[in-house]
């Protein structure tokens, strides 16, 4: 307990002079602050332990090689080291893979845009036209609900208010509309795809 009253600067001095117990006291005194700081940024116990360990390895190496200038700021110095290691960790994990174009490898083999090709657009248009024709085949009440829901983007509550039926009836009509559409598609063996 008496160790608690020894200032950090003196413990550092003792440690540099060969007193290994001084390091144990320094770690015990500051471990929760430093580990808590790392964990607050990393939010992973194992990685935080690794960074804590690397931080103190740096501290030990610096102190043992007499490169540390004591200015009474041991804790801020250790925090600075752990902060730099946290930044390094995020740099490593966020590093993007880099591709370079060569004769054998074209960058466009892994890059693509989301736009449809002309052929794709034509297929989509054709599917839309076919689908509209199929919807026309549905009974009037089912067609009404389906069009309101899918093309006018109305909620079932709005549909029920507008058509004067309950929400459950509107939901039922939608269900039957979809079932009937599938039946028509199966019956005529229509292929709708893009």
């Amino acid at each position: 307990m008496a160790d608690l009253h020894i200032p950090d600067a003196l413990l550092v001095k003792n440690y540099v002079e060969g007193n290994e117990n001084a390091l144990a006291t320094l770690i015990k005194r500051h471990e929760s602050k430093i580990y808590g700081f790392i964990y607050s940024k990393i939010a992973d116990r194992d990685i935080s332990n690794d960074i804590f360990q690397d931080t103190f390895i740096k501290v030990i190496k610096t102190l043992k090689s007499n490169s540390y200038n004591e200015e009474g700021k041991f804790l801020p110095w250790v925090m600075r080291i752990s902060h730099n290691l946290i930044v390094d960790h995020f740099r490593k994990t966020k590093k993007m893979p880099m591709y370079r174009e060569t004769e054998e490898f074209s960058i466009f083999s892994i890059m693509s845009d989301d736009c449809l090709t002309i052929e794709g657009k034509m297929i989509v248009d054709q599917v839309e036209i076919d689908l509209k024709k199929l919807i026309q085949e549905l009974p009037e009440d089912q067609k009404e609900v389906l069009v309101m829901r899918m093309y006018q983007d109305m909620s079932f509550k709005e549909i029920s208010e507008l058509t004067g039926v309950s929400i459950n009836t509107a939901l039922g009509r939608m269900r039957y509309a979809l079932m009937n559409l599938r039946k028509i598609i199966d019956k005529h063996q229509i292929i709708l795809t893009n």
Partner: protein
């Protein structure tokens, strides 16, 4: 009731590193010797 917009901080005073980590550091410190010769430093780890 007032809405709390701030997120609860992850840092807590009870957080501590694993005992194994601390014991490794103490053993590492005991084993490590840094020798300086002509502005070059050599790290010696005793087994």
């Amino acid at each position: 009731m007032a809405k709390i917009y701030s997120k609860k901080t992850l840092a807590s005073k009870d957080l501590k590193p694993k005992k194994e980590v601390v014991s490794f550091l103490l053993s590492y410190s005991q084993a490590l010797k840094v020798v300086k010769i002509d502005n070059k430093s050599f790290e010696v780890i005793a087994n």
